[in-house]
């Protein structure tokens, strides 16, 4: 069977991604003049939107990287039919990582104490709680750790992607194949290790939780990870369905999409589990220093978003994805993937904004404009990388396993 190995970017694809990016840049410029150069309250609103969107989309594309590394580490063969798609999404990490890095550096080096109150040395010295967290929440550690995080994600991502292309023009012997799998496993393990030290523990504390520096939750990072992993798998699903509809990825069948649907379903439940564990303990213990976090969210301006978040990210996947036929149907998969990407964006929205602007919800077209810019960037970069390299790694030792995949 001959297969289409080259993705040719349709003109509409390029136009849409460019258009979205232009909307993003225009929003950024207009937003800077409307909010970014105004009073402190307006500046908070400007930087909060940038922080929320950049961190969210960075963690989402990085979740695609986590997806294929975790599956590689587990010697999962089913991913090989669409592995190049996850790799192409992961190729967005350097670019969005760079943008996020610039934004975070503007916040920390720019001494924006209205975003991160622990930047203010005088306040830290007089505040026993902030003083106690000084070893972790300080500009030097923040800058070093952020640089290391994004830098190593980029380097390890580059390594994994070039490893994947190693066999493109060469069918390995059994011995070579074994060595190749082992090498992949080791590098995937290195990445997973670094992922555990960053996304699964420190980075969400550092980038997002330190906005409300007096409050803390050990569940926070896992909860953030679950959120972005669901969204990451949703993004992979959307690209796979798009390519299928365009006639590419001939070897991907409903079984593979069923697996992606199962991942979305399972990790939506996992997200709810973490969300609820964080919420219930705080609600039940009712200690004032802990409940401050949920005050604006649970019974304040953000109550609507609080319940909408739970509806989109828990109830909808639970009820819609429960039947196996809906995990195999392109329409429900597309609908739910878009809904989950938006739902977890909303989750990040309340994580950032309800801490910074607790008295009202300032959501307007500016937030969606910035989000559109990032979406356009992901579409543009993923499309380019997809077009640059063969779409299917046909010489990979596990490739046959992926074709005869049955569930």
């Amino acid at each position: 069977m001959s297969i289409k190995q080259r993705f040719e970017i349709p003109s509409g694809f390029r136009m849409w991604s460019m258009g979205l990016m232009i909307i993003g840049i225009a929003s950024l410029i207009i937003g800077y003049f409307v909010y970014g150069s105004g009073t402190e309250a307006q500046q908070t609103r400007f930087w909060a939107a940038l922080l929320q969107n950049s961190v969210y989309f960075l963690l989402v594309v990085n979740a695609a990287m986590f997806f294929f590394c975790a599956v590689t580490l587990a010697w999962g063969g089913f991913q090989m039919a669409f592995r190049r798609v996850t790799e192409a999404i992961a190729a967005c990490v350097p670019i969005i990582g760079g943008i996020t890095f610039v934004i975070l550096m503007c916040l920390v080096a720019g001494h924006k104490t209205f975003m991160y109150e622990w930047l203010d040395k005088a306040r830290v010295a007089s505040d026993p709680i902030l003083n106690g967290k000084k070893g972790f929440l300080n500009p030097t550690f923040f800058i070093i750790w952020t640089t290391l995080t994004i830098g190593l994600w980029t380097v390890l991502g580059y390594k994994m992607r070039s490893l994947s292309r190693e066999l493109d023009n060469h069918r390995p012997t059994v011995e070579e194949g074994k060595k190749y799998i082992w090498k992949n496993t080791v590098w995937a393990a290195v990445y997973i290790f670094w992922f555990a030290l960053t996304v699964a523990s420190t980075v969400p504390w550092l980038w997002l939780m330190s906005i409300s520096a007096h409050w803390f939750s050990t569940m926070y990072s896992w909860y953030t990870f679950a959120s972005t992993f669901v969204a990451g798998v949703a993004l992979i699903t959307l690209f796979v369905i798009y390519l299928k509809n365009k006639g590419y990825l001939e070897y991907v069948n409903k079984e593979h999409l069923h697996d992606l649907g199962k991942f979305q379903f399972a990790f939506s439940i996992f997200w709810t589990y973490l969300w609820f564990s964080q919420f219930m303990l705080i609600w039940y213990a009712n200690i004032p220093e802990e409940t401050t976090y949920f005050r604006p969210r649970f019974e304040g301006a953000y109550t609507g978003i609080f319940y909408l978040n739970l509806t989109i990210n828990f109830l909808a996947p639970l009820l819609i994805y429960m039947r196996s036929s809906s995990k195999r149907n392109y329409t429900t998969l597309t609908f739910m993937s878009v809904a989950l990407l938006f739902g977890h964006w909303l989750d990040f929205y309340q994580m950032v904004f309800a801490s910074l602007i607790p008295d009202h919800v300032p959501m307007n077209i500016f937030d969606f404009g910035i989000a559109a810019g990032f979406v356009g960037l992901i579409i543009y970069q993923t499309g380019n990388v997809l077009a640059k390299f063969p779409l299917v790694a046909i010489n990979h030792p596990f490739f046959k396993e992926s074709i005869i995949h049955y569930t």
Binding site: F276, F279, M280, W283, Y284, N286, M322, S324, I404, Y406, T407
Partner: protein
């Protein structure tokens, strides 16, 4: 519970079994079941089995568990004996979620296991006829049910032509029964494989 007549054939290779299943179905024979030592992906599709409704049963058991937990707790804490726990409202839904979740899982898990046992007609201390004991070890056994229209000689010859070995005819009980293998089943006359 019924005694039926079967043509039994065994296979040594999975790669022979799959085309054989397809050919036997195409030839119009009624496959009673295929017994394999390990689960084989795609065999259910090849045999044309319908999708199992076990998960629908699981869902029903699950919501039964949810309802039981929620109604039990709310009866106890709202009507029978309302207590004040640290100033929380009597209808303290978040605190009930863990128990609700656990009862949901418990009901659906136990219910599905029992349903599974019933559907397969296999359970501890209950007997069921084995067509070929080696199908628990290293052989794949295909069992064709003889209908009034089946020509047994032809069926055996056909099984041989698709690569089966050790082809023979058995009269066997299809359901499960309480008792022993040896004495209490006088109905199985040609009980070649009943060894226990």
């Amino acid at each position: 519970m019924a005694i039926k007549r079967f043509v039994v054939g065994s296979f040594l290779e999975e790669s022979v079994l799959f085309p054989a299943v397809k050919k036997v179905r195409l030839a119009g024979y009624k496959i009673h079941d295929v017994y394999t030592p390990m689960p084989i992906h795609g065999l259910d599709h090849a045999m044309g089995l319908r999708e199992t409704s076990l998960h629908t049963a699981g869902f029903i058991y699950g919501i039964t568990g949810t309802t039981t937990a929620l109604s039990g707790i709310s009866y106890a804490l709202l009507y029978d004996w309302p207590l004040n726990f640290g100033g929380k409202p009597h209808f303290a839904l978040p605190a009930w979620i863990p128990i609700t979740f656990e009862l949901t899982v418990l009901f659906s898990a136990v219910g599905m296991v029992l349903t599974f046992c019933y559907l397969c007609q296999m359970a501890p201390f209950v007997r069921k006829h084995h067509f070929n004991l080696r199908s628990t070890d290293d052989q794949f056994t295909m069992v064709i049910e003889c209908t009034p229209r089946t020509n047994e000689t032809e069926a055996q010859a056909f099984l041989k032509s698709v690569g089966a070995i050790d082809i023979h005819i058995q009269n066997a009980e299809t359901g499960w029964w309480l008792g022993t293998y040896s004495k209490n089943i006088p109905t199985v006359d040609n009980a070649k494989t009943i060894l226990v």
